[in-house]
């Protein structure tokens, strides 16, 4: 069983929801990423989404754009990200790591070579923002061949026919982006999320994570009432951005622990 499946199965037994923090690899610099990943796990992360820096992050808001720019200043590319995951795996064989990024660094390395290297480094799943299902038949084949989960996005505007298509290809979990716009936007409409999720569940059997616009414990809890997993990105990146290097770990841990407590407040029915 894949690490992602194992985590969701174990959470179900404990009647808990998953917390998935997102950080950009190499932000604020390359030495901080692996220690930060370990601290995220201690603070209660169930899965880590690790952003691969890209020069043109079209689907991201200003916060994640800036984190990508900070990482690129240190020339952190896809190869370095794989090295970081391998380093993380040396002392954490359990926590799943999902790479999240854009198509071009993968295209540049070669889809098949990437899939093989990612598996070898201990990556569990890959979400490539600008590979929609129509364009990634080969891509998903390579991921599956190497035992990696292909994670897909679903949005409020995804029609039913595409949801069915994604349901056939997706593995691990699907990531429902709860609002229109780019990452880091606000104004999450919980009623809309609730309606959409119940519709999604009639097509999708794997867990559904919800992200975009989750800024505090209260919101995280509200989303955890509805979804299987809560994804928090921009809020964590903000904390990294405003913290001095000596305070950074402590501040991020405080934030993520707070989210964990809030999510664990949810009573999960079977």
């Amino acid at each position: 069983m894949s690490r992602i499946k194992t985590v969701f199965a174990s959470l179900r037994q404990q009647r808990k929801k998953a917390l998935i923090p997102f950080i950009t690899a190499g932000d604020p610099d390359q030495t901080m990423t692996v220690p930060l990943m370990h601290e995220l796990v201690k603070a209660g992360a169930d899965i880590i989404e690790l952003g691969v820096p890209f020069s043109d992050p079209m689907a991201d808001g200003p916060t994640i754009q800036r984190s990508s720019e900070r990482a690129l200043k240190h020339h952190v590319g896809l190869k370095d990200v794989l090295v970081m995951v391998a380093e993380f795996r040396k002392s954490d064989p359990i926590t799943p790591v999902v790479l999240m990024g854009y198509a071009n660094p993968v295209e540049s390395m070669g889809q098949e070579i990437f899939a093989a290297k990612a598996k070898e480094s201990g990556v569990d799943g890959v979400l490539t923002v600008d590979y929609p299902p129509e364009e990634c038949g080969e891509w998903v084949k390579h991921l599956k061949h190497h035992g990696l989960d292909a994670i897909f996005l679903l949005s409020p505007t995804t029609p039913q026919s595409r949801i069915e298509r994604v349901a056939q290809m997706a593995q691990g979990y699907v990531y429902y982006v709860s609002l229109k716009g780019v990452t880091g936007s606000s104004h999450l409409d919980l009623n809309e999320v609730a309606d959409k999720l119940s519709m999604l569940r009639s097509h999708i059997s794997i867990p559904i994570g919800v992200g975009f616009g989750i800024r505090d414990g209260e919101m995280a809890k509200a989303v955890a009432e509805l979804a299987d997993a809560v994804v928090v990105g921009s809020r964590i990146i903000e904390e990294i951005e405003i913290s001095s290097k000596s305070q950074l770990m402590e501040n991020v841990i405080r934030l993520v622990s707070g989210l964990r407590t809030a999510i664990d407040d949810v009573v999960v029915k079977h």
Binding site: S55, D56, M58, A59, P62, G77, P105, V106, E134
Partner: protein, 399 residues
Amino acid sequence: MKVYDLPDKRGHFGPYGGIFVAETLIAALEELRKQYEHYRDDSAFQAEFAYELKHYVGRPSPIYHAKRWSTILGGAQILLKREDLNHTGAHKINNTIGQGLLAKRMGKKRVIAETGAGQHGVASATVAARYGMECVVYMGSEDVKRQASNVYRMKLLGATVVPVESGSRTLKDALNEAMRDWVTNVENTFYIIGTVAGPHPYPMMVRDFQAIIGREAKVQMQEEYGRQPDALIACVGGGSNAIGLFYPYIDDAGVRMIGVEAAGHGIESGRHAATLMTGRSGVLHGNRTYLIQDDDGQIIETHSISAGLDYPGVGPEHAWLKDNNRAEYVGITDSEALDAFHALCRYEGIMPALESSHALAYAAKLAPTLSKDQLLLVNLSGRGDKDMATVTQASGLTL
């Protein structure tokens, strides 16, 4: 012979093109594709488009024989397709009229655009004023500095110009930011892309609107010269003026097609925007195409004296034309383009845009190698008034 019929249903030109965007944009692109496919065959839409091009843009644009310059160069005859005479001074308006009419029919009250040199921004602001729509133009802050007069023109036309501070602060970053706006305001907003790049249906749609250039040229050449040109020459940044001229000629194997890229300080200097000459395949801005990128797949900052060519990607149809050897792609440096700029001013009394000066410069290289009865048709895609500041600076002068 098989008739050229690309792209396929999902926007592919062989391995290039397609739709490579986040899920959040898929529904909007699908809606746009359906609407465009409908109006593409709608006679009332096409009639209105034709009317606007004639009465508002001033088409057809003439073909002018640059006799003095041709004589001085001492070889083939250089003919200019005068897109510089269009309303707003460049070919960009052909496309913004088309997309503006489509936006109007789709009931969108707000249009957005990205711009490099500012020509597409001006053309978008113009149609927004013409059709009574709100207009927001994204422009890299570097380009805002380089093209101050076009920024003011857009403001006069009622548009809001948003300087983009991310990345290299040029055209590619303006495109990123426009995409982010679109994904956030997709219900009331139409995104007018200015070149033959971006996700399907944009490369096809922009090409179709710009193809008026080549269709007119075919008729004019037959009428005035009794034959088609030996070669077509056009500058290529994203590639819209070149595709506009080339497309109706793709099946005419006897007509050479030459795209001229910006070689900046020289290909070997690394400071250029010659994507097809030096790049390799990748995915950016919603399509698969040639890109200027480093070993990690990060997009590299490009350089050209002309802001309109300063783009690290290129339209996917050009990528296909290159791979299939139907079009040739060559480079012209900043200084060669400047020389051609001055030559056309002095010998023909026409001030070309720096973008178009790249095409002119290649024509000036090629013409002397050919006989006097050969015809080179150069797309003079825009006029050069907007480039005054750049040219004075390059000449070491201040006004």
